[in-house]
Structures are given as structure tokens and as C-alpha cells.
């Protein structure tokens, strides 16, 4: 398999706030990994570990302080601004909160066609594309003139997935795409994402704090802690033989649904 995305020594430092003295915040510290074509790269970490910052840096929504990102053979650091628009359609991102990712004042048709207009599609081509992708994600086409508030959270997330898909991307960064959804809805969205991946030959970077979910769908797993990638490897290896104590800690979480550890086994040991 050939690498689709390569991240080399990526570091992001925020200058920090304050009037008298500024304390810089090192959000990402020297991160390197490769994502191969067809991979689902699962990125797991707690809040504040730098998951979202990493997603934004990879896509250059926020330029990294140092380090390089390669897309195929292309070094994204060197792309002149006027080429970005074309390139962006290749790489899409889906955010956590479906409610804030759609403009509430536009019917979803307008949100869906914006990118297609940028690519110079004619009206007919746009309508055909929208019909096709809405069908793919399970939203009836006759609801295309509805406004976002008329849809449920899960449906909105489907629309956002459709919007990302309409650009014919090669890879998609999914930043906690199901965390804001009800448990009974999550499985449907995950199944949809997995089906689409197969059908369109997509590559995913899947970000989540939920190790059970990452363990379910990833082919490769990266564990972030405090801005550092503490462990990265094939999913089977990481799950079967975690090397870093933090990964082991996450995997042995008694609160995971599939854990069979009983309270009395841990209660005595844990310091309270």
C-alpha cells in the first residue's frame, strides 16, 4: 500500500494569552505518522490531548509551527494559496457538532451545492450530484429544501457526510463524528461511514475519545496524550500488545462496556 498522508515532526505551539507574561502552550509535540491508502487511522486521546489541533494542522486549517505534512508526494507546506481551493476538495473534514456545521439560515440544498459551485458544476450537474449523494446517505431527496432545524441530529450528520462526499474526496478527517449523537443513532452513522469507505475507496482519520469505538473500526491506532503521540501501530498489535502504560490504562478501563471487571475487584486497589 502506498502512503497517502505522511506527517513529519509536526509541532504546534500557541503563544498563550496574558498581559504581563505569556506562557506558550505546546499543543502538539513532534508528531510523526503515516496513513496508507484505505486505512482507517484511529486517533484516541482525552480532552486537551491535541486531537482536534492535529486534525486542523493536517488540513492546514491552522498552520503547524514546524514540521511537514505530505499528501502523496505533495508537501502541503509548500502549496501556494491559490492552489488550495482545488486541493481542499480532495480532503474533507467532519466535525463533532452537527448543529453548528450547517448554516441554519440556508436550506440544506444551498449548503450542499456551495462546494459544487466552486468546482464549476452546472445547475443540472449539481442537482444530479446532490440527488445521488443524499440517496447514498439515506436522506430523501424531497427534503432537500428543508432547513437544518427540521432534521434530527443524526440526519444532520448524514447531510454533513453527504456534503463532504460530494467533493469526491480521497480522505476524510472525522473529528468525533458520533460523540454528540444518541447511542441508538451512533451505530447507523458508523455503519454508513464504513459502507461509504468501501464504496468510494476512502481513507479515514477517525478521531475519538472512545477507545471501544476506535478499536472497533480502525486499521491503525494512534494514542495521543498531552500533545504527544505515545503509541502508534497496527490496530491488532496495539490492542493485543499495548506497549505504553497509558494505552494499557485505556484498554483496561473497567467502565468500558465490554469490560468484565467487577467493582469489588478494583475498589480495594484504587486509591480514593
Amino acid at each position: 500500500m502506498k502512503p497517502l498522508l505522511r506527517v513529519e515532526n509536526l509541532t504546534k505551539i500557541y503563544p498563550g494569552s496574558g498581559i504581563i507574561k505569556r506562557y506558550p502552550v505546546k499543543a502538539l509535540d513532534n508528531i510523526s505518522f503515516t496513513v496508507e491508502e484505505g486505512d482507517t487511522f484511529g486517533l484516541v486521546g482525552e480532552s486537551g490531548s491535541g486531537k482536534t489541533t492535529l486534525a486542523r494542522c493536517i488540513l492546514f486549517l491552522e498552520p503547524p509551527t514546524s514540521g511537514k505534512v505530505y499528501y502523496g508526494n505533495l508537501c502541503l507546506n509548500d502549496i501556494p494559496w491559490y492552489h488550495w481551493r482545488k486541493l481542499r476538495s480532495r480532503m474533507q473534514i467532519i466535525f463533532q457538532d452537527p448543529n453548528s456545521a450547517l448554516n441554519p439560515r440556508l436550506p440544506i440544498r444551498r449548503s450542499l451545492e456551495e462546494g459544487l459551485i466552486n468546482l464549476g458544476y452546472s445547475r443540472k450537474q449539481r442537482n444530479d450530484t446532490i440527488r445521488k449523494i443524499l440517496d447514498q446517505v439515506g436522506i430523501p431527496y424531497n427534503q432537500v429544501d428543508w432547513y437544518p432545524h427540521e432534521f434530527s441530529g443524526g440526519q444532520k450528520q448524514r447531510i454533513i457526510i453527504a456534503r463532504a462526499l460530494s467533493m469526491n474526496p480521497k480522505f476524510i478527517v472525522l473529528d468525533e463524528p458520533v460523540s454528540n449523537l444518541d447511542v441508538s443513532i451512533q451505530a447507523g452513522i458508523i455503519n454508513l461511514l464504513m459502507d461509504l469507505k468501501k464504496e468510494f475507496n476512502l481513507t479515514y482519520i477517525f478521531i475519538s475519545h472512545d477507545l471501544d469505538l476506535i478499536a472497533y473500526l480502525s486499521t491503525k491506532i494512534g494514542v495521543l496524550k498531552g500533545g504527544q503521540l505515545v503509541e502508534v501501530g497496527k490496530a491488532e498489535d496495539v490492542l493485543a500488545h499495548p506497549l505504553h502504560p497509558y494505552t494499557r490504562f485505556l484498554l483496561e478501563n473497567p467502565l468500558s462496556f465490554h469490560s468484565r471487571i467487577q467493582p469489588w475487584e478494583t475498589l480495594a486497589k484504587e486509591t480514593i
Binding site: 441508538s184 458508523i190 478499536a215 472497533y216 490504562f249 467502565l255 462496556f257 480514593i272
Partner: protein, 329 residues
């Protein structure tokens, strides 16, 4: 006399009115909590979990237009008590912790002072005695150096520590029931685990009952004694932990359990439940789950299945409890 009961909710219904529309948030639920029991109330957003807990404390917002049923707590009906008696009960007999501790702590008051308030009000302690009691509590909930913590302001604590301050406040008067409304939802795995262990420890050491509200089945499976599952304002299944996870009866419960991803399910398709959670404004007639249910028949669309006892301690509101569900093609 049967076994002692701490809290007994009977046929509780709560209805809001907003924008001239009636919103039945809770539609007739029965719930019994025994002393010292860890009772988990599980449901998705809009199922009516929080409204149930707020009606126990009579803290419902003012746009409630109808509140029916009874909530018996130690033989008093909480819905009939005067506001004054209620005030003496809150914090003393029944207390509550919430999802975002930061929202419920006053940022301009020292943590210790806030915890002291309830102790002085309910137990009539002097300032000095109350301060000692607070330090004792801080020690109990795992705040290192309680003297120092007493004089700290909320912003100087991490979220997990703030939740500990909230717990200290909630248990300050030795309540017999603690209502915990998603107290660990916004916390990281490690902190989550500490808070759950703290609650379990308190439950055991002081015989305090806990009504734990959550949508996280992992926590429930680990900590709860009895679990009640809510869907669209009703309890649809209630059982001791072992029974619920080994032989769930309601199709919603069973599909829900099957739709949780895990390592073991790698490479297989998740079960999933079609459709969406109904909006409280328009709950379907009959069994509220019927539009999403693979077992639904004409009967389910017309009649509401009652919550009936299937076996000892196991209750389920379905016409076809335990019937086999053919998995999706």
C-alpha cells in the same frame, strides 16, 4: 411489612407547556429505590431522565402545567409537602450532583464556604465546627490537603476536583439518597473512574442510595445494582444488573446493547436501530418504540404495553418480551 423502601415513585407524569404546545416529558413512571441501592436510570436525550430527578427534588421549572402521581420518600409524599418542609429535605435527606460542576459552584466564593453553607443551615453547626466538618468531607472525597482546598476558589480546581467539591457538598449532611445526573459525562476516562469509585465507596460506607442518571451503559454495567431503562418518558424495562445484561427482554434494550461498538465486533456490522428518538412533542401512539421496532405489530400501534413483572425483579413494557429479533440482512 415488606422490605423497607426509600423512595417510591408511582405513576408520575410531568407535562410542560411551551409555545402553546403540551410536552409530556414523563408519562407515568413507577420507580422504587431501596435504601443503599445504586439505581441507574438510563435513557437517551429527551427520554425524561432529568425531569424525573428534578421532580423528586421539586426543582422543576415554572412552565410545568401538569404534575401527577406520587413520590413517596420515607412515607411522605414529596409532591404534597410544603415548600418549607421541602427546603429542609433538600441537601439533608436528598441531594444532587450534576454534569457540569463548574456551573453549580459560585465562582466568587471559596469552595469551603460553599460547602459549609448547607452544614450550617441544616445541622446548625458553628462556623468553627462547620469548617472542621468540611475539611473532614474534603478528605473523604479525596481532595489532598483539605485545609488548603477550603480556601481555594472554584477556578483553581480541575473539573474532576470540582466534581469532588460538589460531592462533598452533596454528602455533607449524610443524605439517604443522592441523585447523580450524568456526573461523569464530561470527564476523562481516568477521572471518571475515580469519581465512580468514590461514589461506590460512599454508597457502601454510609449506606447511601444513589439514583444515577446516564446514557453510558459501560458505567451502569460496572457500578449499578438495579437498572431502569427509559424511552420517550416511560420506563420500558427495569431489572437487576445481572438479569438486564444477560437476558434483556425489551427489543429497545436488546438492540441498544447490540449497537455498542467494541474490539470483539471488529469486522462485523453494528446492529443499529432504524429511525430516530421521538420528539417529546409528538410521541407515537401505542408503544412509543413501535415505529423503530422490528417486532412491531398492529397491537403495538394501538395499545400502550404496561410495565409488567416477567420474573422476580424483572419488569418489561412490551407485548412480546424476549421474542427473537431477526438481525438485519
Amino acid at each position: 411489612m415488606g422490605t423497607e423502601v426509600l423512595l417510591e415513585i408511582k405513576d408520575l407524569s410531568v407535562e410542560f407547556t411551551a409555545h402553546q404546545r403540551k410536552i409530556p416529558a414523563v408519562r407515568g413512571i413507577d420507580l422504587t429505590i431501596l435504601p443503599g441501592q445504586f439505581h441507574a436510570l438510563v435513557g437517551e436525550s429527551g427520554a425524561g431522565k432529568t425531569v424525573t430527578s428534578l421532580s423528586i427534588l421539586r426543582l422543576l421549572p415554572s412552565n410545568v402545567t401538569s404534575l401527577r402521581g406520587s413520590i413517596k420518600f420515607n412515607d411522605h409524599d414529596l409532591l404534597q409537602l410544603s415548600e418549607e418542609v421541602m427546603r429542609n429535605l433538600r441537601g439533608r435527606e436528598i441531594s444532587m450532583i450534576f454534569q457540569e460542576p463548574a456551573k453549580y459552584l459560585n465562582p466568587s466564593l471559596k469552595a469551603g464556604v460553599q460547602v459549609m453553607e448547607a452544614i450550617r443551615y441544616h445541622m446548625g453547626y458553628s462556623e468553627k465546627a462547620a469548617r472542621e466538618r468540611v475539611c473532614e468531607l474534603f478528605e473523604k472525597v479525596g481532595l489532598s490537603d483539605p485545609e488548603l482546598a477550603f480556601d481555594r476558589y472554584p477556578h483553581e480546581f480541575s473539573v474532576g476536583m470540582k466534581q469532588r467539591v460538589m460531592i462533598a457538598m452533596a454528602i455533607s449532611c449524610n443524605p439517604s439518597l443522592l441523585i447523580a445526573d450524568e456526573p461523569t459525562t464530561s470527564l476523562d476516562v481516568g477521572v471518571q473512574r475515580q469519581i465512580i469509585h468514590l461514589l461506590l465507596d460512599l454508597q457502601r460506607s454510609s449506606k447511601m442510595a444513589i439514583l444515577y442518571i446516564t446514557h453510558d451503559l459501560g458505567i451502569v454495567r460496572y457500578a449499578a445494582d438495579v437498572i431502569s431503562i427509559m424511552y420517550a418518558g416511560k420506563i420500558i424495562e427495569s431489572a437487576p444488573k445481572d438479569l438486564l445484561f444477560t437476558s434483556p427482554l425489551h427489543p429497545y434494550t436488546r438492540l441498544l446493547l447490540a449497537s455498542i461498538p467494541s474490539r470483539e465486533k471488529r469486522g462485523t456490522r453494528l446492529q443499529g436501530i432504524p429511525g430516530t428518538v421521538p420528539n417529546p412533542e409528538d410521541i407515537p401512539p401505542g408503544c412509543a418504540f413501535h415505529p423503530r421496532c422490528p417486532l412491531a405489530q398492529q397491537k403495538c400501534k394501538e395499545n400502550v404495553p404496561p410495565l409488567v413483572r416477567i420474573e422476580a425483579g424483572h419488569r418489561c413494557a412490551c407485548f412480546f418480551p424476549g421474542k427473537e429479533i431477526r438481525s438485519n440482512p
